[in-house]
């Protein structure tokens, strides 16, 4: 190699390495515009129950603990925690020197205040359930709190991910009409700036955040209630971060422009769609009938037809691939023959030759009910209707407005089968959905599922903090429920976020992409909203 070439080579490698390094050093500044269908309702953390409010509260506040990217609990506002007395007591050691956005230090009294408000009967919080299991709450000093439960309650640990509120700003406020709901102060990576109802919510980076200042200077939450409009806003790059529908993901975003401008992500969502059978109905009392229906419906066909392939089959009520999910379950493969055979065993056969199955001179006929305003669910029901007609079962469809649907049909158990979805909490405890004591009007075991073994396992799993032990219980529950088929498990849809390409540092993980938002950045030469002044 001649000397000239060596020099050239060195120069080029220098430029190359330098450009790599430039890439590696994140810059501060720029804004991100997040498009959302809905507006927040309240920014009081313990009253917020909708996803938009949660999006904002999640940036403004912190809990004592949080989930890391692999869905494990890790400290947030605490240094560490200890579970003592066989799970009766939890002791949290708080971080020192964490400041509220107004400069006051965060202390144990804030945690106690938040707790007292959660169990205060005059506060309209929907979250008191988990906290009412606490027997006593003690602040041992400014940085230590000790919580004692009436009985060991492992899902209680994750409930301390509840966002903590500042005592000094709220102790004299009436929670049901305080200014705080529209002008919150937290400890989180972003400070509240302003909120115009149904227009936007604007947050600014908290330079003094205890994990370091976020790179993106401003977070703008734009409310665009129509999905088609939101999509057009992406096309003109007025929105940087939003979710896509499966159809948009698959068919409307494969353009050169879109692929050059946005990064598309595909992550499993925390929820599943199912067909629930009312077990009080004579039709569905026989396990073989429920299994037969499960055989008769092709889940992959539904995923292809409704989600354009952007979903996965699931077999139980836990987050797929999480520690509680049982991956060893043998799925019932689509087989109309198997379905017919099971139904014949159960006494359902086309005795009179009219094309429909019958038993005791009654045709096999039932109604599937679902809520209005969700076209996916409507299509799913139609596919199920067709597949069940193929094996001689007549299905009628009823679609009802949400409030009516809940109060008149679900709460009162007036349905044969229901198509719905559950979102899955990060902690696998789902006592309220499967335990036989939770079948009263308005409770969530509305299909009236009853299994003594599942009841026992649910309680055992709540009483231990040992994850391996809990996993064993949940896997067994998963197995039993799949075998008995009180739900026909259909699919877990993918969540399909898109983010403008100028944002770097995004690393998809089981928890999604938002977990490391404070590490996202835009290289200095690509920053778009430079005229927006960060300091107020």
């Amino acid at each position: 190699m001649s000397r000239k070439r060596i020099i050239l080579f060195l120069i080029f490698s220098f430029i190359f390495v330098k450009s790599l390094l430039a890439e590696e050093i994140p810059s501060y500044g720029d804004s991100i515009v997040v498009g959302s269908i809905g507006d927040a309702r309240t920014l009081i953390p313990i009253l917020a129950s909708d996803s938009a409010s949660a999006d904002i509260c999640g940036l403004v506040f912190n809990g004592l603990i949080k989930y890391d990217k692999d869905i494990n609990l890790v400290p947030d506002l605490v240094e560490s925690w200890q579970v003592l007395d066989n799970g009766l007591t939890i002791v949290f050691k708080l971080k020192k020197g964490v400041l509220w956005h107004d400069g006051v230090e965060f202390k144990a009294e804030d945690v106690e205040f938040t707790f007292r408000k959660l169990i205060d009967p005059n506060v309209r919080t929907p979250y008191s359930g988990d906290f009412e299991k606490v027997k006593s709450f003690e602040a041992l000093d400014d940085y230590t709190v000790k919580i004692t439960y009436k009985e060991p309650f492992s899902p209680g640990l994750s409930s301390w991910g509840m966002w903590i509120m500042p005592k000094h700003l709220l102790e004299r406020e009436d929670f049901n009409k305080t200014f705080f709901s529209r002008k919150p102060t937290g400890t989180g990576p972003y400070k509240f700036n302003f909120w115009k109802s149904q227009e936007k919510i604007v947050l600014d980076a908290n330079k003094n955040y205890f994990e370091g200042s976020p790179y993106i200077g401003r977070y703008i939450y734009e409310i665009i209630p129509d999905e088609a409009t939101l999509f057009l806003q992406l096309l003109v790059e007025a929105v940087d971060f939003s979710g896509l529908s499966p159809f948009q993901y698959k068919y409307q975003t494969n353009t050169k422009f879109f692929n050059n401008t946005f990064n598309k992500y595909k992550l499993p969502s925390f929820g599943f769609t199912y067909l629930g059978f009312n077990l009080k109905s004579e039709l569905f009392k026989d396990e073989r009938v429920r299994q037969a229906l499960d055989y008769a419906v092709d889940k992959n066909e539904i995923i292809k037809g409704v989600l354009f392939g952007l979903g996965r089959v699931c077999s139980g009520p836990f987050i797929p691939d999480s520690w509680a999910y049982n991956n060893n379950i043998k799925l019932r493969q689509f087989s109309p023959d198997k379905a017919r055979q099971l139904l014949t065993e159960a006494g359902w056969f086309d005795h009179n030759g009219d094309g429909w199955l019958d038993k005791d001179n009654q045709n096999f006929e039932f109604t599937i009910i679902t809520n209005q305003g969700n076209d996916q669910r409507k299509t799913v029901v139609q596919i199920i209707q067709k597949r069940l007609a193929d094996i001689g079962i007549k299905v009628k469809i009823k679609i009802v407005e949400w409030s009516t649907f809940i109060s008149e049909f679900i709460d009162k158990r007036k349905f044969d089968a229901v198509l719905l979805g559950w979102s899955l909490s990060r902690d696998p405890d789902n006592y309220d959905i499967w335990h036989s004591s939770k079948t009263k009007e308005g409770e969530f075991n509305f299909i009236s599922y009853r299994n003594a073994q599942v009841d026992e396992l649910l309680i055992k799993a709540r009483r231990t903090f040992n994850q391996e032990e809990r996993a064993a219980y949940y896997k067994k529950i998963h197995e039993i429920i799949y075998e008995e088929a009180p739900y026909m498990f259909l699919y877990v849809p993918e969540s399909l976020p898109v983010v403008h390409k100028r944002f770097r540092g995004i690393a998809p993980a089981p928890l999604g992409i938002g977990y490391n938002f404070i590490k996202w950045y835009v290289p200095a030469d690509e920053q778009k909203y430079k005229n927006i002044i960060m300091e107020k």
Binding site: S31, V33, R41, T42, S49, D50, P121, N122, R124, T125, P126, Y127, S128, G129, D130, N176, K177, S181, R182, K196, S197, Q198, E199, I220, E222, I223, I224, P225, D226, A228, T229, L232, Q233, L235, V236, A238, W402, S403, T404, I406, S407, E408, I410, L420, W422, S425, N430, D432, I433, K440, G442, E443, F444, Y529, N531, I532, I533
Partner: protein, 324 residues
């Protein structure tokens, strides 16, 4: 005249009470409760919590008692607080009203300024080329779904040409603009919504105008004016048009309640935080106090609009006089 107005105003009071009583009971007939949005299918919300929430909102009392409490507060002009976010109903309405009124006023102006000349011109030569084209066009606007037209225009003017913003009423950097640019910014955002909302309503006003004009043109006094040798322009604009405008005044009066209302679909497509969406959302979440606040406001405006239309009618048409 003053006695007449006073009598009509007094007559409105029982009417208003009746309307609010009926509305109150009807909305309570709809299944579901305001606390549903916090507790529906949320396994974290136990039955006890839900019962407690209902009690805190006073929903455990009989409907008649709830109505009495609500009405007594209304007498002090207290519309109560929204069940959804505990904000004052008046505050929520105040926030949404200006943009809705602005868009409605602009589009009403546009409708009259375009619709009336179209009507007049069509009436002068019924069956002419202009008549046929304008009739087809206004009916096209009337028949076309507004959301579809809106999306087409957005996709053309905002995405393809990039001349106008897609939706909303302000740009991201609105707070950093100077006043003239702020006005310009809002104006740019309003072009499409105002056009879309006006286009669909041209049919009504131009048809009324055409019909009114046709009747007047064939009447005796117009023929008399012509026979006196007045120029055609004077005949049309001084004599005929003034009389043909009388029914339009009624329509104008009846449009008053429409000024504070908005269409949900239209506002949703354009991401405009207006009254239509406020009403729709309040109904979907069974936010009783907010629904009632909006209904009372709507009925007051409707009743007043009717009254104003009647008075204006008498004022412009000397043939009509109200008995004392």
């Amino acid at each position: 005249m003053i006695v007449y107005i006073f009598r009509r105003l007094c007559g409105l009071i029982p009417l208003l009470i009746g309307i609010s009583a009926i509305s109150f009971f009807v909305i309570h007939l709809a299944p579901g409760k305001p606390v549903g949005i916090q507790s529906d299918l949320n396994p974290k919300v136990s039955l006890e919590v839900r019962a407690r929430l209902e009690k805190l909102y006073g929903l455990d009392k009989p409907v008649a008692v709830q109505f009495k409490n609500w009405f007594l507060r209304l007498l002090r002009f207290d519309f109560g607080r929204s069940f959804l976010d505990d904000r004052l109903v008046t505050e929520k309405i105040k926030e949404r009203l200006p943009i809705t009124v602005l868009i409605n006023l602009l589009s009403l102006f546009l409708i009259f300024i375009i619709g009336i000349p179209i009507g007049v011109k069509s009436a002068l030569k019924p069956g002419s080329f202009f008549d046929k084209v304008s009739t087809s066009l206004v009916f096209l606007g009337f028949a076309m779904p507004s959301f579809w037209l809106a999306l087409l225009l957005m996709s053309f003017f905002a995405v393809t040409l990039r001349w106008l913003p897609v939706s909303g009423i302000k740009s991201i950097d609105f707070e950093f603009l100077t006043l003239p640019y702020k006005i310009l910014d809002v104006a740019r955002h309003l072009i499409l919504p105002v056009f879309v909302s006006a286009f669909g309503s041209l049919a009504g006003i131009s048809r009324y105008m055409r019909q009114g004009m046709l009747e007047v043109i064939n009447s005796d006094y117009v023929r008399a004016a012509r026979s006196r040798g007045l120029s055609e322009a004077r005949v049309i604009y001084n004599h005929a048009l003034r009389n043909a405008l009388i029914p339009i005044i009624t329509i104008l009066g009846l449009s008053i309640p429409g000024l504070i209302g908005g269409s949900v679909i239209f506002e949703t497509i354009f991401a405009i935080p207006g009254m239509g969406r406020l009403f729709f959302e309040s109904v979907m979440s069974r936010d009783y106090t907010l629904i009632m606040g909006l209904l009372v406001l709507g009925s007051v405006f409707t009743l007043l609009g009717n009254l104003i239309a009647d008075i204006a009618y008498a004022w412009v048409d000397p043939r009509i006089r109200y008995s004392r």
